[in-house]
């Protein structure tokens, strides 16, 4: 980890239903380059909304998000260019069912980065080999298990060579016996120095892999610190209450 701030969030607010739902209230946060930040909190606390604001899948109601010192909430910014550098992994994988695994992985590099088919496929095969799925390159998503789909979703995002990876509960839709294989890939990625923001209920992962843990409740960051600080010595009553339930 170094001290370069990759994502800087300032006064972020997000409202839904015309202001009736205040999903995020005045969030300030920094994501440093090479850091693994784990976001935890009860259901409905705004974890997904926070993560989805980082690449503007949700458009903030107020506040700024700086990615590489560029305010991507600015209207004149082409968000599509920045999203190429921000990989995202969803709870439900969202693989493209009409394409093979290789097709899924090479589409964006070819269409957006102008890579040739050979180049894109070479990179894809390297990544597939690393996650042990090279033999499934020609398969369709529907032929894979949940754990395999999620590993593909991760390497699909990696094909764009992102600077940060955003994970929204990547193991929540998986059968228990498949959680491990996905966490393993994420762990490896973390060790290679990838900057990661991970929303998860896997407290073991948070403790072992996280550099920093953010605890959210009611659309606010209630407490943040190292895994040690949060899990062993939480300061806020809300944090204690939550951890008592999940640990």
């Amino acid at each position: 980890m170094n001290d370069k701030i990759l994502i800087h969030v300032e006064g972020l607010q997000k409202e839904f239903a015309g202001g009736e739902v205040k999903a995020l209230q005045n969030i300030d946060a920094d994501i440093h380059s090479g850091e693994v930040v784990v976001v935890i909190g009860p259901s409905g606390s705004g974890k997904s909304t926070f993560l989805r604001c980082l690449n503007l899948l949700e458009v903030p109601t107020a506040g700024s998000i700086y990615f590489n010192h560029v305010d991507i909430t600015d209207k004149s910014v082409d968000i599509n260019l920045h999203r190429r550098k921000m990989g995202m992994v969803f709870q439900h994988f969202n693989l493209f069912p009409h394409m093979t695994i290789l097709g899924n992985m090479t589409l964006a590099p070819m269409k957006l980065l102008g890579k040739s088919k050979e180049e894109a496929e070479k990179k894809a095969m390297e990544l597939l080999t690393r996650v042990g799925l090279a033999d499934r390159a020609g398969a369709y998503p529907s032929q894979l298990s949940g754990g395999q789909k999620q590993r593909i979703a991760i390497v699909r995002a990696l094909c764009m060579e992102p600077e940060v990876m955003l994970f929204d509960e990547p193991t929540s839709a998986l059968d228990p016996e498949m959680v491990g294989e996905v966490l393993e890939v994420m762990k490896e990625l973390a060790h290679e120095g990838m900057t990661m923001v991970v929303v998860t209920h896997e407290m073991g992962f948070a403790r072992e892999v996280g550099d920093r843990v953010i605890f959210m409740a009611d659309g606010m960051i209630v407490e943040e610190g190292t895994p040690e600080e949060i899990f062993s010595a939480p300061k806020q009553p809300r944090t204690k209450e939550f951890l008592a339930k999940v640990l």
């Binding site: 599509n80 921000m86 995202m88 969202n94 589409l107």
Partner: protein, 246 residues
């Protein structure tokens, strides 16, 4: 009894000869059928082009309008959506024969290319129905597909083009094929404006021979055979697509 049957048979054979063999009248039916198929095919093609555009506008409006930042793009979308709505209402709210006559007498005044007039008229008509088919096809694609596309860096149009439309198209293929069959029968009113389609061909024979039963029965039989044939193809297609889903 046998004699009566015998004479009925000779009579029918003679009628058949008058209707189809004499003066090569069968050619009215074959050329009419050719025109019917041409009109149907090009009408559907045009309908798909119109339908896809309107479906994109209307589903984009339904999904994204509220979230869009105010600006020129948002205004354009609102206007396009309004025009699309008007088109759908007018086309689906008026009889196709009236539309055909308006296009023939008011717009194509100087042309007598029947196939062209038919294809354009039925294409404009079909576009309204195809638009609804495609709209439901696009709306049926999980929002996660849009989000996955956008998160990789594709813009909205690219996401539609590479990710959403191919899936939507596959989903609506059976409905589109059905639209082709409906259209095939619907074009039978093209004769109203002197387009020589299959029905008109039968009608010309009727006028020339004063025979009613034989030519019209032949026309009906040909439509039926066509519809059964294409229905069979659609069924095969549907089975293939379902097998492809695995």
């Amino acid at each position: 009894m046998a004699e009566a049957l015998q004479s009925l048979w000779t009579e029918l054979a003679a009628d058949f000869h008058t209707c189809f063999i004499e003066k090569n009248r069968w050619k009215y039916l074959t050329s009419g059928l050719g025109n019917t198929l041409l009109i149907t095919f090009f009408a559907l093609l045009m309908g798909v082009v119109i339908g896809v555009v309107i479906a994109i506008v209307r589903s984009t409006y339904a999904k994204n309008y509220k979230e869009m930042k105010p600006g020129f793009g948002k205004k354009c979308l609102a206007v396009a959506n309004w025009f699309g709505g008007v088109y759908l209402t007018v086309i689906r709210g008026t009889p196709v024969v009236v539309q055909l006559m308006i296009i023939y007498y008011c717009i194509f005044v100087s042309s007598n290319n029947g196939v062209l007039i038919g294809a354009v008229s039925f294409g404009i008509n079909s576009g309204a129905y195809v638009a609804e088919i495609f709209r439901s096809g696009i709306m049926s694609i999980d929002n996660g597909q849009f989000e996955a596309g956008r998160s990789l860096g594709f813009n909205y149009v690219q996401t539609l083009r590479y990710i959403v439309l191919p899936q939507a198209f596959k989903n609506v293929l059976p409905s589109l094929a059905n639209e082709f069959i409906v259209l095939l029968k619907e074009t039978s009113v093209a004769g109203y404006v002197a387009v020589r389609d299959l029905t008109k061909g039968g009608d010309i024979i009727r006028g020339a021979t004063y025979q009613t039963f034989m030519p019209l029965l032949a026309v009906a039989a040909i439509y039926l055979a066509m519809v059964m044939f294409f229905t069979h193809l659609v069924n095969i297609l549907e089975r293939r697509l379902r097998a492809g889903e695995r």
